[in-house]
Symmetry: C2
Subunit: 190 residues, 2 copies
């Protein structure tokens, strides 16, 4: 996960550790204030795996990390590969690096996310109905408020994803205005 974020940031160009920490903490990557005890070992790991190469930054003490071709390939894999343990963070990061993903794959990522949220919503609804039926002990108001807010938020997320998906589709059929019903079809469509 952290590896993914590091590789993504290094795609824009070489950078040293301290700077990476700062960039990660920017809103662009979801305020991930990672600690040095996490960052430096991660960089070492990536170096050992051959995904980044280190160079000294012009005589100073800074170590500048640069993406290798293998690192680039690995990053591309992670961009497309569905899922991980921390779905939320993984999706946030993917979206932050969406410009590096080829347009054909973008819709797939968005739709997998949409499916995930939809099924979560369905589970929520089901579990609320179940709990309403077995009247033994109904939820208290706080729990109810929590679940309702969570469902409301998920619904908004889905609507937001739909927008993104629609935008993406619109970009894939550039300025081909929809033909009115009944007009002559293109020859190859007959």
């Amino acid at each position: 996960m952290l590896d993914f974020a590091i590789l993504g940031i290094l795609t824009d160009g070489p950078m040293h550790g301290y700077e990476l920490k700062r960039v990660l903490a920017d809103s662009e990557h979801g305020f991930w204030t990672v600690s040095f005890g996490s960052l430096y070992p991660a960089l070492r790991r990536l170096e050992k795996q051959g995904f980044v190469s280190v160079g000294t930054g012009g005589g100073s003490r800074r170590k500048v990390y640069q993406l290798t071709p293998e690192g680039k390939a690995y990053f591309q894999e992670m961009l497309e590969e569905p899922g991980s343990t921390d779905e939320e963070r993984a999706f946030t990061l993917k979206l932050a690096f969406f410009r590096y993903l080829d347009p054909d794959s973008r819709i797939g990522v968005l739709e997998r996310r949409r499916a995930h949220l939809t099924s979560r919503l369905a589970e929520s609804r089901k579990s609320m109905k179940d709990s309403a039926n077995r009247t033994k002990r109904r939820m208290d108001d706080y729990t109810l408020a929590l679940i309702n807010r969570s469902m409301q938020s998920t619904e908004a997320d889905i609507a937001w994803l739909d927008e993104l998906i629609e935008n993406e589709r619109a970009a894939r059929r550039p300025r081909k205005p929809r033909r009115a019903r009944g007009t002559t079809p293109e020859p190859n469509e007959i």
Copy 2:
């Protein structure tokens, strides 16, 4: 965190490990599908600390865990104590167990959460302005969409908290209808 959830669930009555796992996975506690490799060591830990006591559940193989007075006290502490590493989950759990928190402390918890979200929102806005000013490299549309959606969701959360806070306040002044402006004040208000 897991300890907190376990103690909270056991407040309702004794339960054995396997059942705890199921209850945790319910929507009431935010779908926390915890693994056995995490749950059983946690129970052992709580037992060693004297927060739960084990008893065999009627000759069967099940181990039934029960809250001790120390466990109850510790749980109450965690309900009030502000913050932890994972703010989101901590707040969700606190709300799920809000009925066990004395009404006087509830508003405090809600307002701390509100303050936290408000400052997060302010940071977001600031970092967006900053990035708009240093025109060097403006954010791409995906990143922008992400941040906007996040801010929108946080705003909704704050509004939702305001509702909860208002409800809580209303409950603390029971059926004392608001006096119209200009009417005689209570003697002790002069």
